[in-house]
């Protein structure tokens, strides 16, 4: 199998995953959220909403076929190296396509809501449970301790690099192909040798930050079944935090094996590659399981079970395109997304603006790095 074929298969996999996650995001979204617009569940059975949904499926299928064509064209026309470099751009192009489809649908639902004669009832009451806050703080501290293990592991690898530096050959491997074989070399320097472990330390800190933010994020409790919703939400948070932890372990292990393969100028160790693949898969599965379970429990079966609890993020006015939350009065850094699963940054406060700027810079840098090198 040539590398081009390998890239092509990976691209097919990524595009299918993109299509599936994007198309079924609405199914996993919070109840009362219809393509990023707060809308009562009853309205979601309305013929015009059903029509909008059908159109959405048609559009996203079109983007999916388009992305497959792009991959095919890349495979047939581009050389191995350019095809490899083109991957992120092909993926970004597809993402932009999906996002456009989402915005078109979002605007249609918004227009539908505007034309409604009877405005949907908006909950105005909120219940905050301080024992729930305390439990979240306790879990946050536990995860801080758990994260110290991969952090110390990565730091010790950085130290070990200093110790090994004199004995490392002058030419070190800097890239491995998908099969784990070395395909690029670079002269030895502290920068090239330390890169993997520094990058890894940085990633672990970022992921720790994500987990602590997860426990700081607002938990929406259902006032009608307080204890039940508290328990469900805590299980969900634990699943998310543990899956991020597994991801962190996987990344640490991957960078450690990169560091060792660099010292010894050897191919990547297959068993270790398998272990970090397995950890990654376990993390993803745990995240999916937790989310699926939580969403099934949370969707109200009867109108009486609906969680009539106020949250500032339920107000459409604070959202741009139903995807960006902009509320300067809300000190929260993360709020639950409206479309799909997970959290989004509040760009209304200073902290959120910094994080957004930082993330954009990070993405741009990691995209341009392979082009520079």
């Amino acid at each position: 199998m040539t590398e081009s074929t390998f890239i092509f298969i990976i691209l097919l996999f990524v595009f299918t995953l993109c299509f599936l996650t994007f198309t079924f995001s609405q199914k996993f979204s919070r109840p009362h959220q219809c393509f990023g617009v707060t809308l009562n569940e009853n309205y979601q059975k309305n013929p015009s909403i059903l029509n909008i949904t059908r159109q959405f499926f048609r559009y996203s299928t079109f983007i999916f076929i388009f992305s497959l064509l792009l991959a095919l064209i890349g495979y047939a026309l581009l050389s191995e190296d350019t095809f490899g470099l083109a991957i992120p751009f092909l993926i970004i192009l597809t993402m932009i396509g999906y996002f456009a489809v989402y915005i078109i649908t979002h605007n249609k639902v918004k227009a539908f809501k505007k034309n409604l004669k009877e405005k949907p009832i908006v909950p105005t009451k909120m219940v905050v449970d301080t024992t729930f806050i305390q439990e979240k703080l306790r879990l946050k501290n536990i995860f801080k301790i758990l994260f110290s293990a991969p952090l110390l592991f990565n730091l010790s690898i950085s130290l070990y690099t200093f110790y090994r530096y004199p004995s490392v050959p002058d030419l070190i491997p800097m890239h491995w192909n998908f099969m784990g074989q070395i395909d690029a070399w670079t002269p030895k320097s502290f920068f090239t040798l330390l890169m993997p472990s520094i990058f890894s330390v940085f990633l672990v800190i970022m992921l720790l930050f994500t987990v602590t933010s997860l426990f700081n994020a607002r938990g929406k409790l259902n006032p009608k079944k307080l204890e039940g919703s508290k328990k469900e939400l805590l299980i969900y948070l634990k699943c998310q935090a543990f899956s991020i932890y597994l991801l962190t372990l996987s990344i640490s292990l991957m960078f450690a094996s990169i560091a060792f393969a660099t010292f010894t100028a050897s191919a990547m160790s297959k068993p270790i590659m398998l272990i970090f693949g397995a950890l990654l898969l376990a993390g993803v599965l745990l995240m999916l399981y937790g989310t699926f379970k939580y969403n099934r429990k949370r969707s109200p079966k009867t109108s009486e079970e609906e969680d009539f609890s106020y949250a500032p993020e339920d107000d459409d006015n604070y959202w741009v395109w139903g995807s960006f939350y902009n509320n300067p009065n809300d000190p929260s850094l993360f709020v639950e997304k409206r479309y799909g699963v997970g959290w989004t940054v509040n760009i209304g406060n200073k902290k959120g603006k910094w994080l957004l700027a930082f993330l954009t810079l990070f993405v741009l840098l990691s995209l341009s790095l392979p082009l520079i090198l």
Binding site: I133, A217, R218, P312, N329, D330, S332, L333
Partner: protein, 126 residues
């Protein structure tokens, strides 16, 4: 402690927060020596400005229900709390308004007192 807030109410959020904490203290869901949630934590959980929570906490501090410690946060004071003036003097004004309202609504003195008694004994039982 459960805090219930109504965002459609005319009453400002900081006042609702202040009242909810006083109810919780009187019911005993918060014990002397325990800490209230940190200002930032509570503000994030509700989704309101830090100043709003701060205002409620400062009001509680000024009236002597809690005291602020730089390291431990906002701690609940021992009951009965220390007040500069006797409670009868402090409560006279808010109670006077209620009595005036009850008269205007045509409430009898006995009925008013019975209502007071019922509410008072509710707190005793808990």
């Amino acid at each position: 402690m459960l805090i219930e807030l109504d965002f459609s109410s005319q009453k400002p959020i900081y006042e609702q927060l202040y009242e909810q904490i006083i109810f919780a203290l009187a019911r005993g869901s918060l014990k002397p020596g325990e800490a209230l949630p940190a200002v930032r934590t509570l503000a994030e959980e509700i989704g309101i400005n830090l100043h709003t929570v701060n205002k409620a906490y400062t009001l509680l501090k000024d009236e002597g229900y809690v005291s602020m410690d730089r390291r431990k946060g906002t701690l609940i004071n021992k009951f009965p709390i220390h007040t500069l003036h006797p409670p009868s003097l402090l409560l006279k004004e808010p109670l006077e308004l209620l009595v005036a309202k009850s008269r205007l609504m045509g409430m009898k003195q006995e009925d008013f007192l019975t209502l007071c008694q019922t509410i008072y004994s509710d707190y005793k039982e808990d």
